[in-house]
Symmetry: D2
Subunit: 362 residues, 4 copies
């Protein structure tokens, strides 16, 4: 638990500072013989890329992934997949101000306390730039899940006060990609975009909520006690920058039900055991039950704002700071592929773990 | 990630089915030379014990911990601490009904799907009985934290519709123990108890919210990227039976703020760098900043209710089930020490990890 | 790597001091549905038991295993198997001498340096008594291997100067059990026993070599680079008390060959690809090739001798020590089932890991 | 245990095929604030480099390490150190022969069996080229050990029949670097070189033995039971290509001693507790005792020889193979820095683990 690896059998380890020469990672445990669709990987990277629309940061990174190993004749070898992404749009900015002063809401202060020194340029290791590596691994995980017909859809359900009020079952979730905010309801999407434009004009930032729905997960994934499926999904999501909350199924709203109303009773439907309702979000006792897995993730507003804020220097002098540079007014649209990627990593890992149980008994 | 261990350096591994002969565990990585206060451990066990009050289950377990190793002349040896807790109040009940029928909201169905067989007596491994082992390890972790003057207080802030409206800063958190529901505001506590009595009389169950406040955590705990402090705390909490949501600091409510309002700006107070507000809940970039760590955990109502519910049998026949036996109408009061225990495990593990960083540079 | 666990998917964690109330362990990752043959487990325990013959220690332990979880109706559940073995023949000896003085060749000094305190009674955690737990897990691992028709035979090939000169291919390896020294060649076995009797009469001790042969291991087990099959087998053996050396295949003798003589060339035999010779000991590039896996393990003489030896006290005074009590003149016969058990743990773990590769490609 | 990572707190993960675009790795857990001496790292790389002398392969690789992260202003940040080494001297050879035929002694057959496909160019992942990454991490580990005044010296003690007969205590171990075979006794070194020249002229290969001596290791390193210091060192060495045996201290020779002769008795020397002899090789009960750590590693002859050998094709046809290209007649001189590097990784990991014990008690 040194902090830079995720997963047990399907395992991503990453490295890289925001303004160093490159970020990158190693994907271990990827099964051999998988055809890697490089166009799909590039498409996923483009969904997270800065500068993709008017409501994201103007930082310009091509985010081209260079794969260095583990692939031969376009198929995975079963050996580790090493990859790097060069940091290109690194400006020779004057970082002297944040070298000596801690930005509010950022990890400047805590990294300094933890390590005794830090790469202060653009947040260094604490920058959300590292999430690009998660999307690389997530894209490969999705290719594995595709063979099981498992599909993950994340989408924005709230931006500041603007909420998607239509339940996801009534929406075409794939339509989320049609809007730059990635909300699958066109009218709400437009309201969200308008709201972000206003916030951006104010030099301020805003947070929101992303929901994820995963279909066709077989019953049996997840491990008992400490590695319950919702526990690992929760950890995965809470490891994403700016995430402040996670809930599975009916989540915090569960408090408003009695047990008799919340329990998902079983019934037979088309010859299959299913639950009539899905308050549990597809998980019981930490293990998937075959129903859609449904969860929500809360993101706080981005800490970097274009307004002057109070702060202190490393030597304890009170001062004030005003951000320079290019930042996202709202991180939600770019966070959608990151949420999906982390969910994909969790699922592939549990799928591989389950192989060791199922095949042993047969 | 086989599901039965938690932690890296300070590591708890557990075993045991609800109605087997015993549950137990191994605590690895406990530093040597720690005086084990057996009275304190017994007190912690009593806080989780069934049958402790009128609003908990009547199952009668003395929950006496037998320590088998790792302790010599009342001090820890640094070697693994093995312990067992015998299951005493195991009734020769007729379990034939749940042998063949899946209880709604329980793990019967998912364990059957995962393993192909299960110990159906009282839920087996999926029963919350295993949390007794977490409290054993948590009590020892608290003894370690005490040496750092770190204190954890969890308490109930909501039961069904009854909410604690007073912010925790204005309450004596230690007073929570004075009420059987473990809410530190006497009047609200009584309302919660009254509500649970009504629900119990209906044969129904109810959920709620537990908040935790941890004081004096030094800045620097937590690891970057994947093992952020909130990610590991979130996993710890989401691994507890019946937990459906976790939020750190302002959590889901963060969505209602702009960045300029949510950012915790730094100031000097009594010669120390602190943040003026604590929306972040004591964590920035995944690492503690020295402010109180504050989080909330949502519990759904207990699945076992005294009402008839629809279900299906293992062979796919629709049927109905009515629970027998002794169950909690509301799990919240007994969950308070479990939340504290899991938080203690997380913190001790990160404290030990931080030793490897701090002492290396000196 | 806190030292008390072994394995990744099939994982044994142990606890216990030699003269505490019990030793025990947890076996995680055991596949569900396996019929546990309790007689077989007891037989394996009896092979390691003290007091089994005239050439082993007279310490009298029944070594009865109490299984506490993970088993239901005599089948494994897939959940962790917890077990304990009570320490019965614990004499209220006067340990004051070794409390203050370090026994030569023992871990008294190093444990004191590592932890700052120790349970000095009979070596505490450093005693070979903990290997009883390895045999419990090893017996279960053997039951899993049996389903794959994989068989492990370890046997004694050298005791002091007495060597087994006949190559194992010409012997009935199962006949090793017929002699109390566990050498599969009756005449050599008797010479070994005679030699140990002499050494015992001198109050001295002697070491030796154990060879292991594993048949029917499928090609493909082991992982590249750091977790090569021979690396993990080597670690497993070198973790056993008194082991000083490990070699795979032709081992140290490889130095005496040129590449052209040592290379195992491939040929077709009965329609199967095999190697003509087996200098590699069944492993190439760290991965099994389907030939028998063959390795040797060197054991030093037991440190506890019935002769007076020089030593120093905790406070640095030179002194002398004479062992009291009951000890093995030669640990080899009792080490045979331990070697087999550790090999079984390694193989089951790699078998389960390989499931995640093979089934993914189909 | 997916095979591509080594270590718990100080952890190296590597990737890369021999003839892919690059190899590389991530070093996690390197303490912050360490000044990285790039000249030292380059010197270490040069010791392992192909083409360094007349008795090594002529493959020409500059083996320039490009560090991508974890370093700022020439100091370590505490964050992961990512690095790559481009594969430059990759010839567009005709590999069609080994695409279809398994080379004797190589991993071609076992990788094919394990993964169902392989990168056959130069051995792919199974090539010893990956050990370059170990030397990068080992060099950084050595820089950490230097601060503790811990020094590792490995050197060649045997090549084929040529043995170094002088005990290491009587030699200047640093003088090993003066000869291209890395033997610290000039006369023996020359005999070894002459012997290798003969073997090379024959188109054959030869193995040998490397000894390592580590001075100033503090007492207390290593973990009980499964992660004993000799077990982890043994695993580290047995994970190196071509290694067939490992022994600690008196190793296999222990068999020739009685306990009374082999036991290392304690005495006071210059006010310090030491052992009079060091048969144990500096480790008791798996934990360092402050005496020099001494071990030996056996290497088989390189499998690639310039002679025709029998083999079989993937489709099971018997055939013959003659190696082309550039290969080492004896891998020993280049293996010396690899042995030292692996030992350094083990020691730093245990040093960091010990921090969590020692500082906790104070």
């Amino acid at each position: 638990m040194a902090g830079n690896s995720f997963g047990t059998l399907f395992r991503l380890s990453t490295f890289g500072e925001s303004h160093g020469s490159a970020i990158g990672g190693i994907i271990e445990g990827c099964p051999p013989g998988i055809e890697l669709d490089m166009d799909f990987i590039a498409t996923e990277m483009a969904r997270r890329k800065p500068g993709q629309s008017a409501i994201t940061t103007a930082r310009n990174e091509s985010d081209t992934v260079e794969f260095l190993s583990g692939i031969f004749k376009s198929k995975t070898l079963g050996t580790p997949i090493g990859f790097i992404i060069r940091n290109k749009d690194v400006k020779p900015d004057d970082y002297s101000e944040i070298e000596h002063t801690f930005r509010p809401g950022h990890a400047d202060f805590t990294y300094e306390k933890k390590y005794g020194l830090r790469d202060y340029r653009g947040g260094g290791r604490s920058s959300a730039r590292e999430t690009a590596c998660r999307v690389v691994a997530g894209a490969i995980a999705k290719l594995i899940l595709k063979a099981y017909d498992i599909h993950i859809n994340a989408f924005v359900t709230q931006v500041g006060p603007i909420k998607l009020e239509v339940p996801f079952e009534k929406l075409d979730l794939n339509s989320a990609e049609a809007s730059i905010i990635r909300c699958p309801h066109a009218e709400t999407a437009q309201q969200m975009i308008d709201y972000i434009e206003i916030i951006k004009a104010e030099g301020d930032t805003v947070g929101g909520i992303i929901q994820a729905v995963i279909k066709n997960v077989p019953a049996g994934l997840g491990e008992p006690v400490f590695d319950k499926l919702q526990a690992q999904l929760g950890k995965a999501m809470l490891s994403i920058n700016a995430v402040k909350g996670f809930e599975i199924g009916s989540g915090f709203d569960s408090v408003n039900y009695k047990g008799s109303a919340l329990n998902d009773v079983f019934e037979m439907r088309d010859g299959k055991m299913v639950t009539t309702t899905n308050h549990s979000g597809g998980i019981q006792g930490g293990i998937s039950n075959g129903m859609p897995i449904v969860f929500k993730v809360a993101f706080k507003p981005v800490s970097t704002i274009m307004k002057t804020q109070k702060s202190v220097t490393k030597t304890g002098k009170e001062t004030s700071l005003t951000a320079k540079g290019r930042h996202d007014p709202c991180v939600l649209p770019r966070a959608v592929p990151i949420v999906e990627s982390m969910a994909a990593l969790v699922l592939v890992d549990f799928l591989l773990l389950q192989k060791t149980i199922e095949t042993s008994t047969s």
